[in-house]
């Protein structure tokens, strides 16, 4: 295998595995920046994966090759609707955020598999989708010597979109007044309230946007990697995204970077087999490497992770 081919494989597998994590981790930043801890990302992904797959299977003949892209949007809406549960519980009814997030993680697989059995005659998994997100080669960029081949040929389009969305989210939080307000609600809701910011509205917004992105994350997973929906479609990616968000210090760019890093780490076992020096190393090392490296990087370079000051606290007006 030539160096170019190896690098191309590294980048494309990295992007494929990172895309769902990027979207979901971005979702996490919205919720937590507005002060609502979100351990329910896994559940939001499951609902998004379920909604998008059912839509894809039902409407593939109508929308043809556009289906997976519309399915992403449908998955996002499913995630958004599902996250209302978390918003109502934490913002309106002052539930403990961890409890409510855990409810999402318990409810999502139960509800999604229940409905899958209702729709698909008792089977716990859907059929495989025909219209999936395949490889994408950028028209002009792929002609650039070397770089075009490794970065822009046979790669994951949705991952590039995810990275752009990550940059937009950063812009939103740190360069717009709405973003500033949302952050202020997560840092000091009482002060924000005094300034006339509607704390409840911003918290709802934060959680619902996180549901929207978590739903996309799950949908990307189903449309590009697993290609169907079952109880094991989402197995820990939501928690990985949560970790990516903390790793990225609650910053959209950091979260995007951390998710890309996790994606790269996931591609290790796949590419390890092709690299001569690494090919005789036992595969278990590649399997645990992503997780071990994450811990080591965190310990050495990042130190204490500091969440938004009022993250996880319920805001009670006048108290």
């Amino acid at each position: 295998m030539s160096l170019t081919t190896i690098l191309m494989t590294v980048f494309s597998t990295t992007f494929v595995y990172a895309a769902p994590l990027i979207f979901t981790a971005l979702g996490g930043t919205f919720s937590e920046r507005s002060g609502v801890v979100n351990v329910g990302l896994e559940g939001m992904m499951i609902i998004g994966a379920f909604g998008s797959t059912v839509f894809n299977l039902t409407f593939a003949s109508t929308f043809g090759s556009l289906t997976p892209w519309i399915s992403l949007f449908v998955g996002a809406l499913f995630g958004l609707v599902f996250s209302v549960l978390h918003a109502v519980a934490t913002v309106t009814f002052r539930a403990d955020h961890i409890i409510s997030g855990t409810v999402l993680n318990l409810m999502a697989p139960a509800l999604a598999v229940f409905l899958t059995r209702v729709i698909y005659e008792g089977k716990g998994q859907t059929p495989v989708i025909n219209q999936s997100m395949g490889d994408f080669t950028f028209p002009i960029l792929s002609k650039i010597p070397f770089i075009g081949k490794i970065l822009f040929t046979n790669t994951s389009l949705v991952a590039f979109i995810a990275i752009i969305v990550g940059i937009l989210c950063w812009y939103f939080f740190f360069r717009t007044s709405i973003g500033l307000r949302m952050r202020s609600v997560g840092e000091n809701p009482a002060a924000a309230d005094t300034l006339g910011i509607n704390v409840v509205k911003y918290k709802y917004m934060g959680v619902l946007i996180s549901g929207f992105f978590g739903g996309i994350g799950g949908a990307v997973m189903a449309q590009s990697i697993t290609l169907n929906f079952s109880a094991s479609t989402i197995s820990g990616q939501g928690f990985m995204s949560l970790a990516a968000m903390i790793f990225g210090k609650w910053n959209p760019l950091g979260a995007t970077g951390a998710a890309l890093f996790f994606g790269l780490a996931q591609s290790l076992p796949i590419i390890g087999a092709y690299i001569p020096i690494l090919s005789h190393v036992n595969s278990v090392w590649f399997q645990i490497a992503p997780y071990a490296i994450t811990i080591i990087v965190l310990v050495i370079f990042l130190g204490k992770a500091v969440a938004p000051a009022a993250d996880g606290q319920n805001y009670i007006k006048g108290k």
């Binding site: 009814f93 855990t102 928690f239 970790a243 811990i295």
Partner: protein, 360 residues
Amino acid sequence: MNTKSLKGLAIPLVSVLAGFIVGAILMLIFGYDPIQNYQNLLVGSLGGVYSIGETLRNMISLILTALGFAVASKAGFFNIGGPGQYLIGWFGAIVFTLKFSHLPAVILIIGALLCGALAGGLWSMIAGVLRAYFGTSEVITTIMLNYIILYIVNFAVKSWLASKGSDSSPNITSKANLNTPFLQHITDNSTFNWGFFIALAVVALVWFYFNKTKSGFEIQAVGLNESASQYAGVNVKRTIIIAMLISGLLAGLGGAIDGLGNFENISVSNNLPNVGFNGMAVALLAAENPIGIVFAALLFSVLQIGGLSISVYSNTPSEIVDIVIASIIFFVGIKYAFELMAKKGWFNRKNKVGKGGAEK
């Protein structure tokens, strides 16, 4: 916020009822018979010696993983590492039993349980040490440790324990089985085992630890306010590490007991054991109270074991019980809503209640 305004058990009971109602509504919508299904659920979990044995056995690991989560949580840590700690405990107990099968039964069993518990404790302590000395988020490290141990155990089972071409270790010697012939005899061959009594004893120990010992008090103090505890002379670093150690010991013991009493071997698996996550839910349902955890685990277990017979006797998807479980915890979580309803009277319209929530 005054959580005591509805006396003691009212909120959990109302929540359980509400959870069952949600399940019933869902079944009615999709054309299944709720009454028949709930009846099957109760018969399947409590309708005979065998079912009761299974239900009680299923409680063991729920109780222990819940206690583990609760201990870390009291110290202010979110230990999602339960599944991994349970897994390494299971693995440790099986390895010990297989390697020292010549030992007398009592020593073999005690050794295996200690080995499993200790493995879980040390594994979890990694997160404690990193948190104490480097401030590394235990949320991330426990998630990562879960996956690391999943792959290590899979690798170890496949290459050391299993015979060629197999994905499972050999079965442990029958003398190490906690599910003894006597218990099998009186419970109609269920998997009920002595681990149940160990779990209850551990509940008492944990209760004693929190309420009667200095170390248990320090854990709670650190959980409430780290810097204040520091000023009061608590060794915060040591307390953090102890909390994570105990947390992992308990989850590991859960895995060890299930290994010896239920599975009798260990197999390669693609996913982390679910029980670790369920234990978390049990602890939350019980508000992390050790005694409450026993009852929450019983409820969970009734639903889980009973749920198995729902899909046997009808075409209702058994996932309905998981929906009921999630709903119950949701209602426990939003207890403030019930307090509002009680305060304002039950006849208020729902949106009015919601608005009240924002305005206090």
